[in-house]
């Protein structure tokens, strides 16, 4: 990054199917424990989707009844994750110049619950009077805006909606904004909450959804396994406090690591079929920006959605970039499902377990690796290594967007 400022990670907040704090999330990844469950029978029957990784959510723990009713689930997740992250960072907002603290957020679908409720009323009940808050609850930037509003953050604001790479892009762009000196700190992350019947049925129509594992529904998502049968949707949020290193040091903040590399490419090849060269270019870009050779990466959190084609193409791209270095790879989606717009941020939080503690979270349920997925798998159980110099997280999206992040220890 040359003379640009380094960007420190000083706080992380998690709302996930594996718990609602960084510690709970890391404990589940390490166990390993899956948050994938069977959906209620009537939803499964109507939508075709049998399993998902949902958040055990009680809005009344965080919001008044009025606030909860007027804030979409995706924004509720965002506010709670961001508040957790701010608290963990120790950043004293009362004493900070909040014109220089921003919010960069990512979400694929935005307020899906609100939109679906509105359509249900209009088409289902033939009642054409929509709730007045429908627009401001459903709009894609509402989650990030609610975070800014809650904490009075008046600095740079951006919302990214590039499907499964949205929150990874939010982190990467926030890193560059801070590195360029345009903000002291940014709350960056993403959230998704689309486990509602109309959206589920649209996903089912893509014919890439895993059915319930007949013996163990929690093991339905099997990335890189010969028996893999598709992806499992999840929901939740992850928020990072990213700070100018000198700003973080001046206030004595605990630094978890540095966001040091960001690759961003587009396949421009197909709307949904992944492309090895686009993915490999993004990984190389991220390494180049972090100024690190491939050997310094001690763990890759793969995109690994457990689709037939996607897992093979990603393994080929990883092998192309890392060559013989046999970097350990896992897909934690096997446990927390696919958070889509929230996935990149959540999975960078998973990768930090490797960076900070040398604990590599596994691809749970990976018992029969597909010979076409030739990478060095962290399979079934977590592994322990000496904390590596850096870790990588991949997020590859419908639309051909490829985002790769690198975090470094020092």
């Amino acid at each position: 990054m040359g003379s640009a400022r380094r960007v420190a990670i000083t706080g992380i907040g998690i709302v996930s199917p594996l718990g609602q704090s960084l510690d709970e999330f890391h404990a589940a990844l390490q166990a390993p424990r899956s948050g994938v469950v069977r959906l209620p029978e009537e939803i499964a029957k109507r939508t075709g989707i049998q399993v998902a990784a949902s958040v055990d959510w009680d809005a009344s723990r965080h919001f008044s009844a009025g606030e909860a009713a007027n804030t979409d689930r995706v924004a509720q997740f965002a506010v709670v994750a961001a508040t957790q992250a701010l608290t963990a960072s120790g950043l004293d907002l009362a004493g900070a110049d909040r014109d220089r603290v921003g919010v960069y957020w990512g979400t694929g679908m935005g307020g899906a619950t609100t939109l679906e409720a509105s359509y249900e009323r209009v088409y289902g009940k033939n009642d054409w009077r929509a709730r007045p808050l429908t627009v401001v609850m459903a709009m894609n930037n509402a989650a990030g805006s609610n975070v800014a509003l809650k904490h009075g953050l008046r600095g740079p604001f951006a919302n990214f909606s590039t499907a499964c790479s949205s929150s990874a892009m939010a982190l990467g762009e926030a890193m560059r904004t801070i590195a360029a000196g345009r903000a002291d700190a940014i709350v960056a992350g993403g959230s998704e909450a689309l486990l509602v019947p109309g959206t589920l049925s649209a996903w089912y129509a893509l014919r890439t959804m895993a059915p319930a594992d007949p013996e163990d529904p929690a093991a339905s998502c099997k990335p890189f396994d010969k028996r893999r049968s598709g992806l499992v949707l999840g929901e939740g949020a992850a928020a990072f406090i990213l700070e100018d290193e000198s700003y973080a040091r001046s206030r004595g903040a605990r630094i978890h690591g540095y966001l040091s590399g960001y690759g961003n490419t587009c396949d421009a090849a197909h709307l949904s079929r992944p492309d090895r060269s686009g993915q490999a270019r993004a990984m190389r870009q991220a390494l180049a920006e972090a100024d690190l050779p491939p050997e310094s990466i001690g763990y890759v959190n793969a995109h690994g959605t457990a689709t037939a084609v996607g897992d093979v193409v990603e393994c080929e791209a990883i092998s192309e970039v890392f060559g013989a270095s046999a970097v350990p790879v896992s897909s934690t989606k096997s446990m927390h499902g696919h958070l889509l717009g929230g996935a990149g941020a959540l999975e960078m939080a998973a990768a930090l377990l490797a960076l900070e503690q040398g604990i590599l979270p596994p691809t749970a349920h990976l018992e029969q690796p597909d010979p076409a997925c030739t990478v060095r798998h962290v399979a079934r159980n977590a592994e322990r290594i000496a904390p590596p110099r850096a870790v990588m997280s991949n997020s590859f999206a419908f639309g051909g967007s490829n985002v790769v992040l690198v975090a470094s220890r020092d």
Partner: protein, 81 residues
């Protein structure tokens, strides 16, 4: 329960404020109710009472007391009182 009490109860729930302390003559903004929140609240009032308040009437409502009068008039016009 009177129309005003029902409105106060709904407002207390919507805005997380104490119904007993609500002054029907207080301007809505002093109760912390901004224009967007009020439009959403009106939507719920219309549903609760089964009435419709025109945009023009809506603009003239500055207090919960004003609101009660409009709702009462709409109920009377619909023969619901």
């Amino acid at each position: 329960m009177s129309t005003l009490d029902r409105i106060k109860d709904l407002a207390a729930k919507e805005f997380s404020i104490d119904a007993a302390g609500l002054d029907p003559a207080a301007p809505l903004d002093t109760l912390g109710i901004d224009s967007l929140s009020f439009i959403e609240f009106m939507f719920k009032i219309e549903e609760e009472f089964g009435v419709s308040v025109s945009d023009e009437d809506l603009r003239s409502i500055k207090t919960l007391g004003d609101l009660e009068r409009h709702v009462a008039a709409a109920l009377a016009a619909a023969g619901k009182t």
